[in-house]
Symmetry: C2
Subunit: 456 residues, 2 copies
């Protein structure tokens, strides 16, 4: 193993991250121009690898490749340049699209999901190319702009360009270490389906006095529907929802029980009055091994005296094991259809994205190499094999279209307010991440995959 | 009875109504300047009566008085210049603050609640003063700017100015005829209390994957709370809610049953899939005689994958009979407090306004005079004595502070999208209203109230 290259300073990286975060690439609402601006910014960082913006049927992808390592394996680095909506601006302590360094962290929408974790890989690669004339293995880059909306156009793009994107392994710069207290790798991520439950009553909003009491209120009806989705013990009450979820083995329960996990500290971190979840499982079992159905919001009327004519619950489910996303949508639809809700119409409107759960085996060479890399960057600390309770839609796609497993190797941490106001990233992770990616690539360069060389 | 004065044309009144509606006097959100602009516009219409804007602890009131009818009774004309929020602008077919005449109706926010019904009184009074040199009785005017937010500052103002405002009768230009098919007078209106049910969980919104399943979801919890407020049969499940509601007498039931009322037509008008309401009562009984608890909206998260940290239901109750508004708030608060909702905090935050139900007896001289006025304007049609299922917060105040009953004499109609998008008013009601107010004032001029002359 060679000594690492000279890396840019924190200040240099943070200045570039500030430029990148300043482009409000919210895939749910941004204009094509804004998304293209973010893509172009990223492509410029990939100049050393022929960086370019390529069209898809949705927002563009950013591509690049450095293929000068004859005989070495090829990896495909994946990430995304889009970000989540800000949510309530009043809850942000600093402007979401201006990075602010605050002690050990940098704040801003997208700093940790996924702009910072992607940028650090590019800064490392630039340093390696500048100082050593190349990378230790062949690296392709693919960054998309629709991850936060379920990657609706990525599958068609990857399938159409499968030959160009072929790799022995995908390394995702998206994801997150589980917590800040020890290095960790993720061996699984949860699937995702999302849908709206829409209740409609009258033709328009009605004065709550002049019509009150004579028609069913869609908000009240929706509340009944939403309340029916769970049992009081926290389990999901939708028949068939748990189909495909494997029972927890005694071994897995023991492994999870052995993980140092302070429930009270976790509770204090999230700031909830108490923890709560599906009966019969520990908090960590719920987080890693159990599927969830969460109502992300309700849109209905407001604080004015009407009976709203429409009320909508926004629902998403995180899936595990062999749960079939399509069957989960069907199960919820059937459950809602079977309810007796007088005086209104109730329908389920499923989103397009369907992502099954994903898994990589702990003895996969990529996990071995990544473990070694983390052990070098975090000496003396044991590397924990964890689960990403979030969803990385691209993983299943890469397995199907490219025949490649995905290693999650992000230097985000799961507590960094992903998707929420005041998103942040620990500044030290930028340097640690560059170091770790360098060791990972060095290790993987010596790997002889089954399909040796074929992926070039 | 003398012949009526020459009145302004529809086109002339509509032109002035357009100016008035163009001032977006939404008391829930408008600036003081906007509200003052609306008040000043109205005061200018009252020049014949010394019209002026007077300060309160909230938005100003508009005052004026014409007191030249020696020996005749004194009436206080009440109305309001504030309007409801627009709601979803996408649901408006024309811009809310530009009046548009569409066939027999004029559309715009506030045209019927309450700008049109107030303006027609002022146009009549101006015509009488210009053509006859005066009014048939003494008239004081009081228009407030906070009716749509529960009149929080009107009570203090009226009590402080009770001597100046003293009258034998209050005539409200706010309210509405029950339906367009026959003339009607209202002998009661419902009370109102409003409150928010607020459920809070974690300190901030949480990623629905990285934290999903480990904490209670405030939206799900709120849905359970909202669902608990009603029984499946449509009745309110809050213990004590119905305290003070008188049982319907057989006589009252018979009277209501005798009212021509086509349930299917009503259903078709509101455009609901079916009618629904409290078991054991007809639609008209529910509307006129029964209190309601309606959820006007829910504010919680949105369509992005978080567990929102707060979810709020906006609730309002319409009250009847001797229901005590304060006790209704207490009953709901106690009901919510008694629920077992793990993992979150639930609290009830009551709005300031508290309006009990109101009633005027059918044999009151004002009802008799108003009936005669409507019979003259709508010859051959029977005048129906109905209930305003809406709320007119000023009525109880006038009874307490001025010792005067309130006659509702509005030429709005209840189906005119009050509080909803596409609010409208029937243009013919402008002319009919001016005619009716003229006859009403003529009739009341001959009334010798118990306190004859004292109110001058």
């Amino acid at each position: 193993m060679t000594a690492g290259p000279a890396l840019p300073t924190d200040a240099e990286i943070l200045a570039e991250l500030a430029e990148y975060v300043a482009i409000p690439s919210i895939s749910r609402s941004a204009s094509v121009d804004t998304m293209r601006e973010a893509a172009s910014w990223l492509a410029a960082q990939l100049r050393f690898a022929g960086g370019r913006v390529e069209e898809t049927d949705g927002f563009p992808v950013v591509r690049g490749e450095w293929l000068g390592a004859d005989g070495a394996p090829t990896v495909l680095v994946y990430g995304h340049y889009d970000v989540q909506p800000t949510g309530d601006l009043a809850e942000w302590t600093t402007p979401p699209f201006e990075t602010v360094v605050d002690g050990d962290v940098v704040r801003g929408r997208g700093v940790t999901d996924d702009k910072g974790p992607v940028l650090l890989v590019l800064k490392l690669a630039q340093a390696l190319v500048a100082q050593r004339g190349g990378l230790p293995l062949n690296v392709k880059f693919l960054f998309e702009g629709e991850e936060e909306i379920g990657s609706p156009h990525l599958p068609a793009y990857v399938r159409a360009h499968a030959d160009e994107l072929a790799a022995d392994l995908v390394i995702s710069a998206d994801g997150a270490m589980w917590r800040p207290t020890e290095p960790s790798l993720s061996i699984a991520s949860k699937g995702l389906v999302a849908l709206d439950v829409v209740v409609t009553g009258a033709r328009g909003d009605l004065h709550s006095g002049r019509y009150g009491g004579t028609v069913a209120n869609p908000v009240t009806a929706l509340a009944g529907v939403v309340a029916s989705l769970h049992r009081p013990d926290g389990s999901v009450a939708v028949p068939g929802f748990y189909d495909g979820v494997e029972a927890l083995t005694a071994g897995r329960r023991a492994t999870i029980a052995a993980v140092e996990f302070d429930e009270e500290q976790y509770r204090a971190t999230v700031g909830a009055p108490a923890l709560f979840g599906e009966a019969g499982f520990s908090t960590l079992e719920r987080l890693w091994e159990r599927p969830t159905l969460e109502v992300n919001g309700i849109t209905a009327g407001g604080k004015y005296t009407v009976i709203p004519h429409v009320a909508t619950a926004h629902v998403s489910c995180r899936l595990v094991g062999r749960q079939d996303p399509e069957r989960v949508v069907q199960a919820i639809t059937a459950h809602v259809a079977a309810l007796d809700v007088p005086g209104v119409e109730v329908r389920v409107r499923a989103d397009e994205g369907r992502v099954p759960a994903y898994r990589i085996e702990p003895d996969h060479p990529a996990i071995q190499a990544a473990t070694a890399a983390l052990e070098e960057v975090y000496p003396g600390q044991e590397v924990l094999l964890a689960v990403i309770a979030g969803t990385l839609p691209a993983t299943t796609l890469f397995e199907e279209a490219l025949g490649a497993k995905t290693l999650f190797f992000s230097f985000a941490t799961a507590d960094e307010q992903h998707h929420a106001p005041n998103e942040f990233m620990r500044v030290a992770r930028l340097r640690e991440g560059m170091h770790a990616w360098q060791v990972l690539w060095d290790r993987l360069a010596a790997w002889i995959p089954a399909s040796a060389g074929a992926a070039r």
